[in-house]
Symmetry: C2
Subunit: 182 residues, 2 copies
Amino acid sequence: MDTVMDGWRRELPELDRPEFEVTRRAARLSQLLEEVLSECLAPWTLTKADFNVLWILRTAGAPYELRPTDIRNRLLLTSGGISNIINRLERMGLAERTPDPSDGRSSWVRLTPTGTDVAEDAIRAWAATQEQMFAGVDPQLARQASDTLRTILIALGDREPATAPARAHDLPPHQTAPPRTT
Amino acid sequence: MDTVMDGWRRELPELDRPEFEVTRRAARLSQLLEEVLSECLAPWTLTKADFNVLWILRTAGAPYELRPTDIRNRLLLTSGGISNIINRLERMGLAERTPDPSDGRSSWVRLTPTGTDVAEDAIRAWAATQEQMFAGVDPQLARQASDTLRTILIALGDREPATAPARAHDLPPHQTAPPRTT
DNA sequence: CGTATGTCAGTAGTACTGATATCG
DNA sequence: CCGATATCAGTAATACTGACATAC
């Protein structure tokens, strides 16, 4: 990575801005982490996409259910992509859909008991792996990195599309500025 | 993103470590950036993978040539993946392969003049886009983020597999610990 | 011979687009 | 009727695996 950035500075000094380094290093970091995550999930035959949805559902709290739209808002995927993942989770018996009584277009995706267990096991495994990977990293530094990244994300406009938590019969009928809907 | 992390803290407080937030936020950041990069490259019909290789070749300095192995070391891809990309660049007339006189197994991948132009144009466009995106971010903060990420990457073992720069007839015959070779 | 380098075909995993259905 | 929600089929892009060729 340093080799690469040195080349950048040597060859294109007029374009040497700290932002670009953030870009490259963030990409590299998530590349490395995703690689490890894949291995980490192998025992459950879960893909990273599956894991993300399980994770979102589990951290949503009991009864571990959200509408596809909520998942979409949190993971920034298209509705088509979400459908695919839910289908897979349903075939694996980890999640199930129930129609939304108050809105016939939508449905609730809920973790099955098995799904909840699998989610927790996988999350715990991934947490342990991360802990091990970050063993050589000062927690202070990690904290700082997280805060800085957060600030940058907000500055870049990473949005919080109006939370709609557990069984939101009480919410107003529409969200604020939902992203890609197709 | 904050919504998601709040759920994490509420539901799985025993697993609340700053590292995990770094992981998620870095992933999100590169997700957002890659999305914009794709749009940015559309005018040239370049894929992100193409762009990465063009970029690596351009920042390698004149005469803008590297062996597939060098590219692999810098981008952390398998040799098969590199072959595909080089094939595509060659078909587009942006790069060309010449056999390595001193090692019959390998070859040198060099940017054509057109390739060099396209690389520079695309890099400049991407730089301008990033500059615009980061307009609201304090450069100090970006600098800090970059440094912190760098430290973390090094701690995670992101390696520098023995640089092999322009026409390295003078290098020892083998590298140190090359990653995935297949 | 064993290792290193690279190519190629086939494939997995990700996620988008466009078409469609349905409901508010 | 328009906009929102979701599903599905088809497709693009990424990149890996395994088989192979060749050369050190």
